[in-house]
């Protein structure tokens, strides 16, 4: 290996993690450096590639939603860890632990007696002006007085080698999961070094978090159930939520998975409500309860705050803790530390001046070119500005803005970041990059424990001064070295799985997953049904020679089923287009495809990649079709392709999906939807007065997807009695009413045995009545053709009753399994 440092720039202004002032490798780096020098370029590149592959695999394993072509950026991890010697780490850890205790005490004060405000040690502007000061949380006492269960701090190293705080993370600190993932990967890349250097393990940190939540959760003697609350799969750090939930063994839930009853939080599972004793939240606090906090939040749990207030659940971090995330706060911490802790603040913060005090504002305005101007509150739409980047006019405009509302701005000195080596595979050399370090602390029974390590973040390019994961840039593992060999087991990732670990079904299967599968089943069938009816109408509309009576009957049915807009809403071609593609028409095929795709997205982990792609493709095509001047030939084409894809989708569901409870609900959803559709269609047809019309009977067969069966059986044109037999009574035809009705009853019975459901009396009775129906009453009518009409009307009534009963069953299942309320206790209106 050639000299690794041959082309390693050494700007004097910065501290170098690797090299001392004389350009010599610092003692704690020598061992790692020696190994690098012994390695060939190819070996190092191979290791780097290994890391990348590992990360990608984890992404696949843990983030089933990751879209291969989507916005999900792969996590970047540099080959070299950043190394910190034990004695240096002790100082950092002591400072971080002290700061966590201090911030916890500040939260206790601002949500309690507010003595710091009364004493003039903390400006009310920084508290009451902050959008994350949550008034409804005032006076709420968290268990054990702990507001901050997890705390993270961003550190930067100044040229003199001291670490300075650049930001506090108190809301729902992210990154600990990434630190753990980095460690898992990098310790495998350098197993010998990892052992020989005595790198301190991270496992204790996560165990402490588990212990603290279990200890503080108001469990009332039950084994505590802790859940990890995520904003959902669209959140940028969703991957980390999944990863942490699995590492900690907590169910990962969204707000809609939880419900509050009698000021107690429950997880909605298929088997019923399970009490939740603690919520580790990754959702910002103001979004957590739409009843009392931000009313526009659909992500939270209505009533959560009242459950906290009543001491029935632990929320970590406490609701309201986000108020301390402000660059205005650190300037006041030294005096507050003296007051609350009686000791000086160990870790200094980067020099900053909150402009809310008139003299401070004037001083900051004078030195504007040397400063970074930042918003005080996260809600402000103001991007930080470097004073030196502004010309005179821009500076004047900025000064005016600051004078108008001084307390909303903070002036900060520029941070000079330290430089650490990164491996550049394409240049086969080491290059210095600016780094910052995020360090984590967790509350324990005896004060805060600091994770020995952390997430080192690396600037994206050589001259970047800002380190941000969101803006690109890589990460490093942080190795805290110890004087002696580290014993103790590593975290659970290396544990082999045995028989005791086998999982056949998820005991915490959230109702939401099942509900989405149920609706996935309903919407896929609904799309199929309406596509078929639309194809019938369109084909007959395009083909002028066909029987106009058949088209007319189909249109009447379309209206009756609510698919086609009423006649007075426009010309026929406009109405057909609206039914297909209408943006405004809620029952349009396009709208139902959108619903299908949405539910598919939420159960995507259960679908195959090919199925998902097919759905996305159809959706895209439906979006592209011209809703105003559609070509009916193209549209027919589209309907044909759509029906094929939907058939593939249902084939997949039948053949390839795991037959768990979720699958059962999917099939029940399909079954209910199809039953309703055939019943309503045939009933509508029978009432249309065209029951004997041959071409109308032809399309009814087509609608029931039974034309081929009919033709092979009868080799004749469609006639009423055999058509009705095939669509209503034939128990071998999966498109017949009796087939679907019996399937539904069987499924419900099985469900009832498992979950103690009352028997479906109404449906069972209707099934008996339909089975007993004699088609021969149509052959020998007692009262001539009027008698036939009476029989057909009676039949239509029965079918409508079945459709109605199926719809009521759907509502009942929803209330029982998804909403979890007892529908038998329905309150009647007075």
């Amino acid at each position: 290996m050639p000299d690794l440092l041959a082309d390693y720039p050494l700007p004097e202004a910065a501290y170098h993690e690797l090299l001392d002032a004389q350009g010599q490798v610092r003692p704690h780096w020598r061992r790692l450096f020696a190994q690098l020098q012994r390695s060939s370029t190819a070996q190092l590149n191979q290791r780097q590639a290994l890391l990348a592959r590992q990360i990608q695999e984890n992404g696949v394993t843990y983030n089933v939603y990751a879209d291969p072509e989507g916005a999900d950026r792969p996590w970047e991890l540099d080959l070299l860890p950043n190394l910190i010697p034990a004695h240096e780490w002790q100082q950092i850890a002591a400072g971080v632990a002290q700061r966590a205790s201090l911030l916890n005490a500040v939260l206790a004060d601002v949500y309690g007696p507010q003595q710091l405000l009364a004493d003039g040690l903390l400006p009310p502007e920084l508290v009451f002006g902050h959008n994350n000061y949550l008034w409804p949380c005032q006076g709420v006492q968290p268990p054990g007085g702990t507001y901050l269960h997890l705390y993270a701090v961003d550190l930067a190293r100044a040229p003199d080698g001291r670490w300075w705080v650049t930001a506090d993370r108190t809301q729902a600190p992210s990154g600990a999961g990434y630190a753990l993932e980095n460690r898992q990967i990098l310790s495998r890349a350098f197993p010998d070094l990892y052992r020989d250097l005595g790198v301190q393990h991270l496992a204790g940190f996560f165990r402490t978090l588990q212990d603290t939540l279990a200890r503080q959760a108001p469990a009332d003697g039950e084994p505590p159930l802790v859940v990890l609350l995520t904003p959902g799969r669209f959140n940028e750090s969703y991957f980390e939520h999944l990863y942490l939930a699995r590492q900690l063994g907590y169910p990962l839930v969204e707000g809609s998975d939880l419900t509050v009853r009698d000021a107690t939080v429950y997880l909605k599972t298929l088997a019923g409500l399970r009490r939740v004793h603690a919520v580790l939240r990754r959702l910002d606090d103001d979004f957590c309860d739409p009843l009392e906090l931000r009313t526009d939040s659909a992500l939270g749990v209505p009533g959560l705050l009242e459950a906290v207030r009543q001491g029935r659940v632990l929320v970590a971090n406490a609701l309201g803790s986000g108020v301390l995330e402000s660059p205005g706060l650190p300037g006041f911490l030294p005096a507050i530390a003296e007051k609350l802790l009686g000791t000086p603040l160990l870790l200094p913060s980067i020099a900053s001046w909150w402009c809310g005090e008139p003299p401070v504002l004037e001083a900051a305005l004078k030195k504007l070119p040397e400063l970074l101007i930042r918003p005080t509150f996260p809600s402000q739409s103001f991007t930080p500005v470097f004073g030196r980047d502004l010309d005179a006019a821009q500076r004047e405009a900025l000064s005016e803005r600051l004078r108008a509302r001084p307390y909303a701005y903070v002036a900060q000195a520029l941070a000079q970041l330290s430089q650490a080596p990164v491996w550049q595979a394409d240049e086969a050399s080491l290059q210095p990059r600016a780094i910052g370090m995020r360090v984590f602390a967790v509350a324990s029974a005896d004060g805060y424990r600091v994770m020995p390590g952390g997430l080192t973040r690396v600037a994206a390019d050589a001259d970047a001064e800002v380190v941000s994961m969101q803006r690109g840039g890589a990460s490093k593992d942080t190795w805290v070295l110890s004087e002696r060999q580290v014993s103790g087991e590593p975290w659970q990732w290396l544990r082999p799985l045995g028989v005791a670990d086998l999982v056949r079904s998820d005991p915490f299967l959230p109702s939401r997953m099942v509900e989405n599968l149920f609706w996935f089943g309903r919407y896929s069938e609904r799309c199929e049904d309406s596509a078929r009816l639309l194809r019938i109408m369109l084909a007959r509309y395009v083909d002028d020679d066909d029987d106009p009576q058949a088209l007319q009957t189909a249109l009447v049915l379309g209206e009756r089923l609510g698919l086609l807009p009423e006649a007075d809403s426009g010309e026929l071609d406009e109405r057909l287009l609206e039914a297909l593609l209408g943006e405004e028409w809620p029952a349009s095929l396009r709208a139902n495809l959108q619903r299908l795709q949405w539910t598919a997205g939420s159960v995507r982990g259960k679908l195959s990649q090919a199925n998902w792609q097919a759905l996305v493709e159809l959706q895209r095509e439906a979006q592209e079709l011209d809703a105003e001047h559609g070509d009916f030939g193209d549209l027919l084409d589209f309907l044909n392709r759509l029906l094929m894809s939907l058939a593939a989708l249902s084939g997949f569901a039948l053949d390839d999906m795991t037959r768990d409870d979720g699958w059962r609900f999917l099939m029940i959803g399909r079954c209910i939807e199809r039953l309703q559709f055939i019943c309503d269609s045939v009933a509508g047809f029978l009432r249309s007065g065209a029951a004997q019309d041959q071409s109308a009977l032809e399309w009814l067969l087509e609608l029931g997807n039974s034309s081929i069966t009919y033709r092979t059986r009868y080799l004749a044109s469609a006639q009423l009695i055999p058509v009705l037999d095939l669509l209503l009574l034939d128990e071998q035809n999966p498109h017949s009413v009796l087939f679907q009705l019996r399937t539904l009853l069987r499924s419900l019975q099985r469900l009832g045995e498992r979950f103690e459901l009352p028997e479906e009396q109404a449906l069972a009775t209707l099934e008996q009545q339909l089975s007993a129906f004699q088609l021969s009453s149509l052959e020998n009518p007692l009262f001539g053709s009027e008698g036939v009409d009476a029989v057909l009307d009676g039949l239509a009534e029965r079918l409508e009753a079945i459709a109605q009963a199926a719809s009521e069953t759907s509502d009942r299942l929803g209330l029982r399994f998804f909403v979890h309320v007892d529908a038998s206790q329905r309150t009647q209106s007075s």
């Binding site: 507010q114 405000l117 009364a118 009310p124 209505p302 009533g303 108008a404 209106s829």
Partner: protein, 300 residues
């Protein structure tokens, strides 16, 4: 007359187009007691019967009723019956208030200990859900706040300005209409005018809070008082370092006295809306609200 007695009926009726399976409601329908007001009777009737009902004070000291419904229901009816006595307030000489700049300076952090009234006032100086702070609001009120004018005179001028320049128009806005749009279109209802006045005062660094309540309205001459024809009302209160909190009603251009009945106060409407909740199901629904304010000759 040193006091006035009222009976107030406030009915809210939701008829849901689809059943509501779960609901949690927060009601600010019981008047708070304050120096100029006594509540002699308060009843809250709720139908259907809630599964739970808890009464407490909210963080600003207003009575708050929490209602929880865990059974499907098609409608919700909440009826408040109140008897309130409004007392005459301490007479004020607006000219005696300190210059408005002095009030701003006292409210601004200076590193000195903060007396309790100023700390209380500080709650109401910043942005809140319906009140954003903008330079446009400073500019709008500029002519009401010449240098050195006593605070309460300046606030009265602002009240008059809003009263004169804005048209009361119940069709113009909804609760969520942004204030900048209200300012541009110059129309709205009492809630908008109160929020606008708060924005003008707070954007300038003053403390002001939103007051929700009722107003005695007079029927047209010769006609009987109609039941249910009144409405909820809203106005503002500004903090003056010498005189304390002083109410102003920009919708009617008056300083509230015996005809204003105070229900609750907070940073803005979001803190004190009479009835708000989160429901599951329900379909589309708009509540019917009926308010009647009846003057009583003597306590009943």
């Amino acid at each position: 007359m040193t006091s006035a007695h009222y009976q107030i009926l406030h009915d809210t009726h939701y008829r849901y187009s689809a059943p509501v399976s779960l609901a949690q409601q927060l009601a600010h329908l019981w008047p708070r007691d304050c120096a100029w007001q006594r509540c002699h009777l308060r009843q809250l009737e709720v139908g259907p019967q809630p599964c739970q009902r808890r009464d407490a004070l909210d963080v600003h000291g207003n009575p708050l009723t929490r209602l929880v419904f865990e059974r499907p229901h098609d409608e919700l009816k909440v009826s408040a019956r109140l008897q309130v006595e409004v007392l005459a307030r301490v007479a004020l000489t607006l000219e005696n208030s300190p210059p408005w700049e002095r009030a701003c300076a006292l409210l601004t952090y200076s590193g000195q200990p903060l007396p309790a009234p100023l700390l209380e006032a500080a709650r109401f100086r910043f942005e809140s859900p319906y009140v954003r702070l903008k330079q446009a609001f400073v500019d709008y009120a500029e002519d009401c706040f010449p240098a050195g004018r006593p605070l309460l005179l300046a606030v009265r001028a602002l009240m008059q300005k809003i009263f004169t320049e804005f048209t009361f128009d119940a069709a113009a806005t909804q609760v969520a209409t942004p204030l900048l749009q209200v300012l541009e279109e110059r129309r709205g209802v009492c809630q908008d005018f109160a929020h606008l006045m708060l924005a003008c005062l707070r954007s300038r660094g003053l403390s002001a809070r939103y007051v929700s309540g009722y107003l005695l309205t007079q029927p047209p001459p010769g006609q009987p008082r109609l039941i249910g024809a009144d409405a909820s009302h809203a106005w503002i209160s500004v903090y003056c370092p010498r005189q304390g909190w002083v109410d102003f009603d920009p919708t009617n251009n008056v300083l509230p006295a015996l005809e204003h009945i105070t229900l609750a106060w907070g940073r803005d409407f979001a803190d004190v809306s009479p009835l708000r909740g989160v429901i599951l199901g329900g379909g589309s629904h708009d509540p019917e609200v009926e308010v009647t304010v009846l003057p009583l000759a003597a306590p009943v």
